[in-house]
């Protein structure tokens, strides 16, 4: 601590001296330029230009020597200053220390403290991990077959690097298959596509796809506005109807369910999802298969099971 204070004091004195010597250097350089501009006053006896030239050159040499001397002094003070090593690690953030408005915000100080804290945390984490690894703790008596099997079960394959043409062809094929769904491609931006799918005479679904991965689903009534006033598609406003909001939640659950199943081909989750959507075509006509009624709390049967999509109320589902 005392060392750093002494170091800081030395550095400050060095800087002060360097500033004064820089000022001195500046004045000698100004003298040189003044001499070059104004020249030398001619002597009273006009002996010839030779003497004036000599005098001029002499003065010029003197000034340049003074500049050289002052420059060497400045260089000496600069080299004697010790750079603070820790500031370099912060990178561009270290330039904040040059900010003159230190009274207003303590951003630089906070940044240095955060960095030191972070470094300490890394050290402790490394020490802790080395200690923990050296003492393996077995909590359960079982051979851990189930756990190992869980670990061994591979994650669903991620299909990437699909060509745009392949995606277009797949979507066209899917559009042809189910009879109760009508497709409309609203927007394409690179890999992202926004589809408008109308299910029978029941609702419209806005489906956002990245290649063939489903990202977002929004279910709205047939007479609801899908676009903003400026013509862009509205992807965020919820439906004004409660049954459509419930179906949106179920649709997002279905997207997650079908996306995490093992699929040999990339279009299978989307295909299953569209088949599940198709089961809603008689939303207002079919009563609940469990209780036999149309309404439950003012809502029609909005739940469809993911394996066996049959009309069911939210409260009736097994």
């Amino acid at each position: 601590m005392a060392d750093t204070i002494n170091q800081a004091k030395l550095t400050i004195s060095c800087i002060a001296q360097a500033i004064t010597s820089t000022q001195q250097l500046r004045s000698t350089v100004t003298n040189v330029f003044n001499l070059l501009c104004e020249g030398v006053k001619p002597d009273e006896d006009h002996d010839g230009r030779g003497r004036d030239r000599k005098k001029f050159l002499q003065k010029f040499q003197e000034h340049l020597q003074a500049v050289n001397k002052d420059y060497n002094e400045v260089e000496k003070y600069c080299n004697s200053m010790i750079p603070t090593p820790e500031l370099q690690v912060l990178g561009p953030l270290s330039h904040l220390s040059l900010d003159s408005n230190t009274d207003k915000k303590n951003t630089f100080r906070d940044a240095v403290q955060t960095y030191e804290w972070n470094q300490r945390m890394h050290e402790y984490a490394q020490i802790a991990s080395s200690i923990l690894l050296s003492h393996q703790l077995k909590r359960s008596q079982s051979s851990g077959g189930a756990i190992l099997a869980k670990r061994r079960r591979a994650l669903p394959p991620k299909f990437q690097n699909m060509s745009s043409q392949h995606v277009e062809n797949t979507l066209q094929l899917l559009a042809r298959q189910p009879a109760d769904l009508t497709f409309k491609l609203i927007k394409t931006l690179g890999d992202t596509r926004i589809l408008q799918v109308t299910v029978g005479r029941v609702f419209t679904v806005i489906l956002m796809l990245r290649n063939l991965l489903m990202e977002k689903v929004l279910v709205k009534g047939l007479d609801e506005e899908l676009y903003y006033e400026n013509g862009t598609i509205d992807l965020f406003s919820e439906s004004q109807f409660e049954c459509m909001r419930r179906i949106t939640d179920h649709a997002m659950t279905a997207v997650l369910q079908y996306s995490t199943t093992h699929a040999t081909q990339p279009e299978i989750p989307l295909k299953y999802f569209l088949l599940w959507l198709q089961s809603y075509k008689n939303l207002f006509i079919d009563p609940c298969s469990i209780c036999g009624k149309h309404l439950d709390g003012g809502l029609p049967p909005v739940w469809r099971d993911f394996r066996n999509p049959v009309a069911c109320h939210d409260t009736c589902r097994p």
């Binding site: 005479r201 029941v202 609702f203 009534g221 047939l222 007479d223 004004q240 109807f241 409660e242 049954c243 459509m244 207002f284 006509i285 009563p287 009624k293 149309h294 309404l295 709390g297 003012g298 809502l299 029609p300």
Partner: protein
């Protein structure tokens, strides 16, 4: 905007309209509906001047569609226009004149139950009360043939099992097409006409 069914509410003999409508409000509130305001449906009738047995033109204004005016004949043809229609008709005084005593209105409360909108109104001609109207609208669906079961099931919930379940002719004719608000207004016109006729009989 969805599918709406307008029906008269039969006041049992011996009870007055005010009492009956209070009972109706209670049964609706018991279902869980929330009161969301008031509504009015006014109907003004016009007849052609110097034409014998001319058809009556009904001009309807509903607070549910404040920027629109509906004009329809009893037997079908109707138009939807903006708020300037009454002043336009007044300029055509030489052709269409308002019928005396032809103003009838239904005024009452508006309830919301999930996606349903229920309206119970007292029908009055001038100072005298003539009956009660009940309108049930199911907003998410736009095809009447699809949601008729849902509407009747709700009505049975507070009317009882004696509820008439046949679709009215007005809706039946266009049950496979997209429902529009002027069909609701035509239902009101039919209801008001029946009340006028029953009034004349008395």
């Amino acid at each position: 905007m969805g599918v709406a069914y307008v029906s008269p509410w039969k006041v049992p003999a011996g009870q007055n309209v005010q009492q009956n409508i209070e009972e109706l409000h209670n049964s609706i509130e018991q279902l869980g509906a929330i009161k969301t305001g008031l509504f009015t449906v006014e109907c003004e009738s016009y007849h052609a001047v110097n034409v014998a047995n001319s058809k009556t033109l009904h001009l309807i204004h509903s607070t549910e569609y404040p920027a629109s005016r509906f004009a329809c004949f009893e037997d079908g043809p109707s138009i939807v226009s903006d708020v300037m229609l009454p002043s336009f008709l007044s300029k055509l005084r030489s052709v269409w004149q308002p019928r005396k005593g032809g103003r009838i209105e239904s005024k009452g409360h508006r309830y919301e139950l999930g996606d349903f909108v229920l309206k119970t109104g007292i029908i009055s001609m001038g100072p005298s009360t003539k009956g009660i109207s009940l309108e049930v609208e199911y907003t998410p669906c736009v095809y009447p043939c699809d949601c008729w079961g849902i509407i009747t099931e709700l009505l049975k919930g507070f009317v009882g099992e004696n509820m008439v379940t046949n679709m009215p002719t007005l809706i039946l004719e266009k049950s496979k097409e997209i429902y529009t608000p002027d069909i609701t207004m035509q239902q009101y016109v039919e209801l008001f006409s029946n009340i006028r006729k029953s009034n004349l009989v008395r």
